[in-house]
Every structure is written in C-alpha cells, then in structure tokens.
C-alpha cells in the first residue's frame, strides 16, 4: 500500500513524465537546444508555392546556398495561377507569370517535386499535402504560408513561416524555434445539423479574440473533434492562425490512419505497419498538463458569420451586428469603429438584411469534396439570386475530378455558379481577378481583412452551407432555412 505522501509523490512524478502530444513531437525533433527556450528542430518536410517559394529559392541560390534533401521538398502552383478553363502561365495578375516561371525554373534547378499548373495532382498546398499523404502524423512540416497550421489536423507539427525561415529550412533541414506554450481547446457536446467545423472555429475566435491563441500551440480535442471527419478537422485547424496560435494539432486516431492509407506519398507495406505503430503513440498522456485550457460546448454554436474586418468580429448568421466594444480605458475601440465604417454596418443591424454581390466557395479552408457536397445539397434544384456573382473553386484538381464524377459540378453550374480549375483564386486579391470595388461577398475563406478579396471589398466569412444559402437568398442567410 502507498501512503498518502507516496501517492502524492507518485502523482507528481507521473505528471512530470506525462507529455502532451506537442511535447512528444517537439522532443523527437530537437537536434540541440539553443539559448533560452529556443531549440534547433529537425524539419521533415518543406512545402513551397509560387507566391513566396519563388523568392525563397531565388534568394537561397543568390547566396550560393543549396537545398539539402530536396526529395523531401515539394512545391505547388496555387496562389497566382488563374482558375479559368485552359489556363496556362499567363495570368490576370500583372506579372503573375514571372512568379510561375521563376518557381518552375528554381524547382528544376534544385530538383524539387513540383505540382505544376496542369499537373493532375495540382492544388492548394494545404489541400494536396494531406490528399497526397505528404503530411503525416508526428512529422514536422513547414511552408512559407500562414495556413500551414491546417495540416496539424493529421497530428503533424506543421506551421507557417516567412521566406527567410523557408531558406533556413531548405539549407539546413532545421529551424531555430522558440518553444510555444501549450493550450488545450476541448469541444464537448454535439454539433447541430449543418453546423460545421467552420462555425466551430469562428465561434472560438469570436469568443476569445483574434489574439486569443497568441504564443500557444493548441491541441484540439474532445468528443466533438473525434466526431469530425478529417476534412472538417483540416477546416478547423486552418484558422488556428486567425486565432494567432503558433499552430495546432489533433491527435491522429483510426480515422486519420484510415484517411492516409494508400495515399500516393503515404508509407507502403512494412513501412506502413511501422508508421502506424508509431502514430498510435501520438496522443497527450492523461496526466499531461497544459498551460491553458478552454472548453467549448457545441450546443452553443450555430451558423456563424463575420460582420467586420477581423475573424474575431463574429455573430450568429441570424443575429445582429454588436455594439462597439469599449477598451480598458472605457473608450470606444477604434478597430471596431473602423471595421463598421469599412463594412458599412451599424450596431443592431440584422445580418440577414445585408444584400450580397458575390458568393465564393473555395480556399484552403473550405474547398474539399465534403465542402462541395454540402453546398451541392443546398443548391440542388435552386438558383443563385439574380445579380449575385457566384464562383466555386475546388481545392485541388483531384477534388475537382471527384466532384465531377459525383455530378456536383452540374448541380452548381445549374444553380448559377461558375465552376473553376483549382487554386487559391479570390481568397485574396493580387492585382488580378477580384470581386470589384466595395462589393459585398459571402465567402468560405479565412480572412475578412480590408481589401483582401478586392479593392475595398466587404467580406463575410462563413461555412460553405451559409455561402450556398446566401447565394440563393441574395442576402446573408441561415442555411437551416434551405435544407
């Protein structure tokens, strides 16, 4: 029998030994500890795209440095490529072609696998990396793209970096990383019908603020996370950066393992068995402690939409614009006033009273096959309201092909949507195609920033279901009315 003191001691020791999922992956990758809480971490995979990858490769080469282990580096054309049928290197974005050509040349020179403009596996980096099995549980993956946190959905430690950091990873196979604090975000209860991962993440950011995750690596867990499919988890993790988190993770479970089986870059045969055996050890020990814990009851989450210019400016789709927030000094928060002015909304205005000019389904947040199926379910046999420009851009060429096999393209086209080739498209405005000056857009993307989708465009972030419902209604609308 253990005495009470022994028991206490035992608990303390086991808590010390207990590790979070993040700590397990972190420790496995520490090459050496540097100053303070900074470590040199081994990087398993680097992904690049033509927008920021081109400059990293060019700069690296100019400094006379080489890409080491180029067979673990991948690149895609997603950011600047046009999404029209029959596209090639020329783009609506002025000088876009320069980025495409520079990237292709740099990839050839450095011997990097490139998913080029018309490659059957081309697509948005955070869609194709999981789809092709390039990201795997327990690996470290970096990309000069802030939404790399998406890939934490498969239990990888994946995070967005700048171009200089990308050069560092390419040249040394490592990064100097300051260890983030840990946060557990637990989703309990059940999601109501049509309420999705997008609504969950918008709800979280709305409740805790766009800087709520600053300094943390987040582990999403709880019964509602376990119930989500892998694609929904990718949506949820995609916006961890809009919560200002370093990144996020979800422990790989049977669903994750099943998802990865037989993907082109997944391990095969005996390697698969070894990998799975290891992946099964990737979870937070029950005694492990986090620096911060948030619990959210899914019963409180409905279809959520943004009214302002930060992802934290959220409200219910059938709700109203909130009052102006007061800061610590009791003064009106200037960012709220500016956001309301920019969006042309006022406190207590009903969101459903806002007429839209455009509807967009796409981006690394919501462009996977499950997203398109949800949209198709709502759009089937219905028409987009007159005057609304509606566009769907599948997240990858493979998603597009799958959707076409299922007849989703036909449903969307019949409803009045444009059906495009895969890419990031109008998630952001690079000087080419855009929604137009001061147009109001309901969008399945991740950023409602000023002028993000066009000159002074007004973006309302929402789930694909809400985008589809709003496209039909011609104003912001609750998808539950269109089931």
């Amino acid at each position: 029998m253990l005495s009470d003191t022994d028991k206490k001691e035992f608990i303390i020791v086991s808590k010390k030994m207990a590790k979070t999922l993040f700590e397990k992956i972190w420790q496995q990758h520490v090459v050496t500890n540097l100053e303070g809480d900074t470590s040199l971490l081994y990087i398993d995979r680097v992904f690049l795209h033509e927008r920021t990858g081109s400059i990293a490769l060019k700069s690296l080469s100019a400094d006379g440095r080489k890409v080491v282990n180029s067979d673990q580096v991948f690149c895609t054309m997603d950011h600047i490529v046009d999404t029209f049928k029959g596209r090639n290197d020329t783009t609506l974005m002025p000088s876009g072609q320069d980025f495409i050509v520079a990237t292709r040349e740099a990839c050839v020179e450095a011997n990097i696998k490139l998913f080029d403009v018309n490659d059957p596996q081309q697509g948005i980096v955070h869609v194709i990396s999981p789809e092709l099995g390039i990201v795997q549980p327990g690996c470290t993956l970096v990309c000069p793209d802030s939404h790399t946190c998406s890939q934490g959905a498969l239990g990888a430690l994946a995070w967005g970096i700048g171009s200089s950091e990308a050069e560092h990873a390419l040249a040394t196979k490592t990064l100097r990383v300051t260890k983030p604090k840990t946060m557990k975000v637990e989703f309990v209860g059940e999601l109501a019908d049509v309420v999705s991962a997008k609504d969950m993440i918008l709800h979280l950011i709305g409740e805790y603020g766009a800087a709520g995750g600053a300094g943390y690596v987040i582990e999403f867990c709880g019964p509602a996370i376990e119930n989500l499919g892998i694609e929904a988890r990718l949506t949820l993790c995609n916006m961890a950066v809009e919560f200002s988190a370093f990144s996020c993770l979800i422990a790989p479970d049977a669903k994750a393992i099943e998802y990865l089986q037989n993907r082109p870059y997944s391990p095969k045969g005996e390697q698969w068995e070894r990998a799975v055996e290891y992946w099964k050890t990737l979870y937070s020990d029950s005694q492990a402690t986090f620096d911060n814990v948030i619990t959210i009851d899914c019963a409180n989450i409905g279809p959520t939409i943004t009214w302002g210019t930060s992802p934290e400016h959220t409200c219910s789709v059938n709700g109203v614009v909130p009052e102006v927030k007061l800061n610590d000094n009791g003064l009106e928060d200037q960012s709220y006033i500016r956001a309301m002015d920019y969006m042309q909304v006022t406190p207590n205005m009903r969101l459903s009273d806002l007429a839209i000019d455009a509807a967009f389904i796409g981006s690394c947040t919501n462009s996977r096959i499950s997203d398109l199926r949800v949209a198709a379910k709502i759009l089937k046999g219905r028409k987009v309201a007159s005057g609304v420009k509606a566009i769907c851009v599948p997240g990858s060429t493979l998603v597009k092909k799958q959707a076409e096999q299922e007849g989703i393209d036909k449903i969307l086209i019949d409803a009045g949507f444009e059906w495009r080739e895969s890419g990031c498209s109008m998630c952001f405005y690079a000087g080419g195609e855009n929604f137009g000056y001061q147009k109001r857009v309901v969008t399945s993307t991740n950023r409602n920033f000023e002028s993000r989708q066009g000159p002074e465009t007004r973006s309302h972030l929402a789930s694909p279901a809400t985008v589809a419902a709003s496209a039909i209604a011609g104003h912001l609308a609750d998808p539950r009315d269109y089931l």
Binding site: L34, P144, E165, A211, V241, R274, G431
Partner: protein
Amino acid sequence: MDKFTQHLGVAAALLQANIDTDVIIPSREMKRVSKQGLGDGLFANRRYTLPGSREINPNFVLNKPEYANTSILLSGANFGCGSSREHAVWALKEYGIRAIIAEGFGSIFYNNCIRNGLLPLVLSEKEIAALTDFVWSDPQSNRIHIDLEKQQVTASPGQIFDFAIKPEQKEMLIHGLDAIALTMKLNAEISAFQQQYLKTYTWLN
C-alpha cells in the same frame, strides 16, 4: 543583416488592434520576385486615396509633415497578424521603420522581423498610450529612444519602460547575425541527428 543596438527616432501611432499584413502591404503591391521595391506599397490602402493609386491621402498619419522620417510605429494588439508574407517586413524596412512597439505580434511576422533586423517590441496598452501622449504634441522633438542592450524604451527622462525579449532573438538583433550561417556551424550535429532519426522513423526518409 542590419544590427540593432540603440535607436532614437520619430514615432507614429496606428492605435488599432489586428493590423494585418494585408494592411501593411496589400498582395497586389508584391509585383516582382524580389525583396526590393516594396516601400512604396507600404500601407498602400491607407496611404493613398484610392486602391492602386499613388495620390497621397493627407489624413494618414505617415503622410502628415510632423511625422516625416518616422522610424518607430506604435500600435495595438496582434500587429502583423495574418499572411506570412515577409514582404510586410521588407516594405517597413525599406520605408525606414526600425522598430515597432505594440501590445503583441503575429508570431510569423515577429520571426520575420528578427530575421531582418527590425525590432518588434511588446509593451502594455497603458505604456503605449503614455508613449503616444508623449509623442503627440510635437513628434519631431519628442522622439523615442530604444536601447535593446538594456531592454528599455525612453520617452521623456522620467518615462522609462522595460521590455522583455528572448535571449536568442536579442543576440540575433544586436549582432546582426545570419541565422542560416549560424546554424550551418552545427551541420555535423545535424547530420548525426538525421542519421539516427531516420533509422527510427524509416518511413520519413
């Protein structure tokens, strides 16, 4: 990389939370595969009257004559959130910004600053309000002094604020270190690690 030890400069306030990197430099201003030629695009949507134009908006703080030669920005929470585009940092530097004092930073932006010799410095809302009050009446005379060695920001002689910075980041800035060159000195250690690592995690090879 430029060293940062001390700096005395004109400070301008953009007191708003969540100034994202799309605001700092809109994507359409990133026209070439280059780290140069970005200064003109800095805050383009606010600095100029219409998107895409170069007609000066006289109401934007950096366009006001009293804020000529601004080299320090004061801002709110979560500065530099959003897109990872390092162009935001390159544009700030090209414009002449040497330090940003904010309540907090987007983590990718923060690292991009360190890699380019731009000092991201965290103070509280109250401290930033005090600095803004100090600057406001005469920005050209009421300059702010930053001492990275001592980790102090000085406004008037009586107003000194301490700030925190991780030792690794401080070293990088003070000595203007090239992180890649520094890490390459550890190449033998990295190779040894990799060899061992790939024996265990064979499927990642």
